[in-house]
Subunit: 413 residues, 2 copies
């Protein structure tokens, strides 16, 4: 069964806001067995909204729409919907009470704009929005289902989650399954070369996609068939074959992230981690602590941006910096050893490099990054040459360092 | 003149990858005076690509397309294009040489897949791609212009930048201008209420949009008219009026970010910054160091996730933690004072809170965050109650802390 997504908002068309809603909705629809065939972003005006609804209706039997339901004057979706579904409005006491409670918890009093949000179309099902003032609106018309949701991402997530049972009812039986294999350490074309024979021997019902992002390449296997179980067996067989070809490069699957994989390994071991970051500037600590529960294996970090922080906090010997420079094997190893000691950790990651755009030399161009891992099994370090772009360099260094830690914990270094 | 964007890739339709390309392209097109009226994401298969091209051609005179030009088997755009533009292929020696050089710099040897990328359509203009193996392809057909670009974001950015002169030629004279006012500290509906009279008195040719994101609300003014200069005068007049109504809440404009605004203030003052982060886990340091050149005002950070890091590295008195708890005015102020001292900084930010999902109590529920600023003018601290969601709490605490620092530097606290 086919589905489409429409995101409404002028901010999308002028590129001020990145549309993250579509990706989330698409994931959820896929998991429910719905096949997303088209995503459109249109302006917040009546005629464009109606054209987009017409085009989607011609192709799909479920249309999910976000945006334009807010309390401010630039939100025009609700007006356009009323005409499209030949709907009147009614004042909903339940919605109004929810709005009042929500705002009073935030210390805000209800104003006329908020009160207007309790006026809802009179021929739709309301979907509860625990996090915001605008409820989701579920319409059915000529065998097509329409779900209108707020555009604020976390409100949309909550509304969609409440609408999933209705969507599951709507979805039919033809199955699609995806499995993603996460690799680190090989660029896309080298990876493609290495797994060429495996790829061309894939069965007919499986297809492969390469998804590169800074520091890693994801391989997505998509299978189609009669049942989830049948497809899963076929996919798992191929994953086992792939693991034999590139065992050390695979660090996880599907929604895994390198920070979560490393966190799980540390938890299993009952080991403590610390970081000493120069060029990554706290990005590694930030990735690690984005994982709920990380406080049971992460002691903390010294972001030693200035050399004096390397000397005074991490106890790096000044002679090393003078002799080898801050971006060197000697200094990055001393940083890792220092962090491991002062933060009473079992493992420590250290980074020192030139993220750019300035600071490069002939010897050490922008993109040069030293990474060290201090561990119970000894010290490991490696130099990398990433690219020219600051943000990407920080990201690639962080991902590479976390994968190096993973290998150190597993005894693969 | 109207433009459309089409992003191609199955990964977009299953929600595995967020489409960031569209926002960047839309910004560039807007700056060139082109009005983006529609963005579509479609699957990497010939018929969907051709349908999307047809639909876009019916509405717009410039169509920008990304994706499907890579070296792997799942990239089908090039094949579909050949039919659509009645084009043959030719082997381009210049492209092949570029591919060879690019790969050898990465220590990779050229394989058959890479060689195939030098086969290009024979009736288009090639746009140089300095960062990747697939060049951009510029077609013209019946007064409509088509630009095909690679899907990897940084390659697309490079190709688009090289195509901008051609796009400027293509664009006509009707002007659109945007100005965004960045606010922090007021939720959307309170802000809307506060500026209601100003909003309803806006001239006809200006429109306003509210763009909330965690920790801040952006206000975007869009003007249309005969010339950029005329619109800018009208917009600037309104911004001056707005500044009188909410002076303390505005921290910047357009592409400003709070981390860049704060960095510029520190640079002006010749002052040094340090951070001591508990619940934000390095996110503030990471934001600060994402700004090129931040090493001239940022000493570093102690991410004191474990209490022992607060005691040993930041010299927080153990009695304070025992008496008031780690999430308290007393401890967060001691952390800020400690960071300021040990990192020899003029200003220090400290955070301590409960990001969630676990760790909340009746007294201090999830979302409770204490923020302190130690400064030459004294110590400032405040408690905030954010929400239930870990990632958003970290982001809101970071943005709020940086804005508090901004106010401390400007003497607004």
């Amino acid at each position: 069964m086919k589905a489409e997504i429409i995101t409404i908002g002028d901010e999308l068309l002028i590129g001020q806001v990145v549309d993250t809603n579509s990706a989330h909705i698409a994931q959820q629809l896929n998991d429910a067995g719905l096949d997303v065939v088209h995503i459109a972003s249109v302006a917040d005006n009546g005629s464009d909204i109606v054209s987009a609804l017409d085009a989607a209706t011609a192709r799909a039997s479920a249309v999910l729409i976000t945006g334009g339901l807010g309390p401010t004057n630039d939100d025009r979706t609700k007006q356009s919907i009323l005409g499209y579904f030949h709907s009147g409005t009614r004042f909903d006491q339940g919605v109004f009470q929810h709005i009042t409670e929500l705002l009073s918890r935030r210390g805000v009093s209800v104003n006329e704009r908020n009160r207007d949000q309790a006026k809802v179309p009179d021929n739709c099902t309301l979907i509860y929005n625990p996090l915001g003032t605008a409820p989701g609106l579920w319409f059915e018309k000529n065998n097509t289902t329409y779900l209108f949701m707020p555009g604020v991402p976390y409100e949309m997530v909550a509304v969609l989650s409440n609408a999933m049972p209705l969507l599951h009812n709507h979805a039919s039986g033809s199955a699609i399954r995806h499995k993603t294999i996460l690799t680190q350490g090989l660029p896309e074309s080298m990876l493609a070369k290495k797994i060429e024979a495996w790829e061309s021997a894939l069965p007919e019902n499986l297809s492969l996609a390469y998804l590169p992002s800074p520091g890693l390449v994801k391989l997505r296997l998509t299978g189609r068939g009669a049942s989830n179980k049948e497809i899963d067996i076929s996919i798992n067989e191929q994953v086992i074959n792939l693991k034999k070809i590139i065992p050390d490069y695979i660090f996880g699957y599907d929604q895994d992230t390198i920070e979560r994989v490393v966190g799980d390994l540390l938890k299993e071991k009952g080991a403590w981690l610390a970081t000493a970051e120069s060029c990554t500037g706290g990005a590694i600590a930030s990735m690690i602590t984005s994982v709920p529960g990380s406080s049971i294996y992460f002691r903390g970090s010294v972001v030693a941006y200035a050399n004096l922080a390397k000397l005074e906090l991490l106890h790096v010997n000044e002679v090393l910096i003078r002799q080898y420079g801050a971006v060197s094997k000697e200094v990055v190893e001393a940083m890792a050893a220092g962090a491991r000691e002062i933060l009473h950790a079992d493992y420590a990651i250290a980074t020192s490099g030139i993220a750019g755009p300035d600071g490069g030399t002939d010897d050490k161009p922008v993109g040069t990054v030293w990474i060290a891992i201090a561990s119970p099994g000894g010290m490991f370090s490696a130099m990398h040459r990433f690219g020219d772009e600051r943000e990407r360099n920080i990201r690639r260094a962080s991902v590479t360092a976390l994968n190096m830690l993973r290998k150190a914990i597993l005894g693969l270094l």
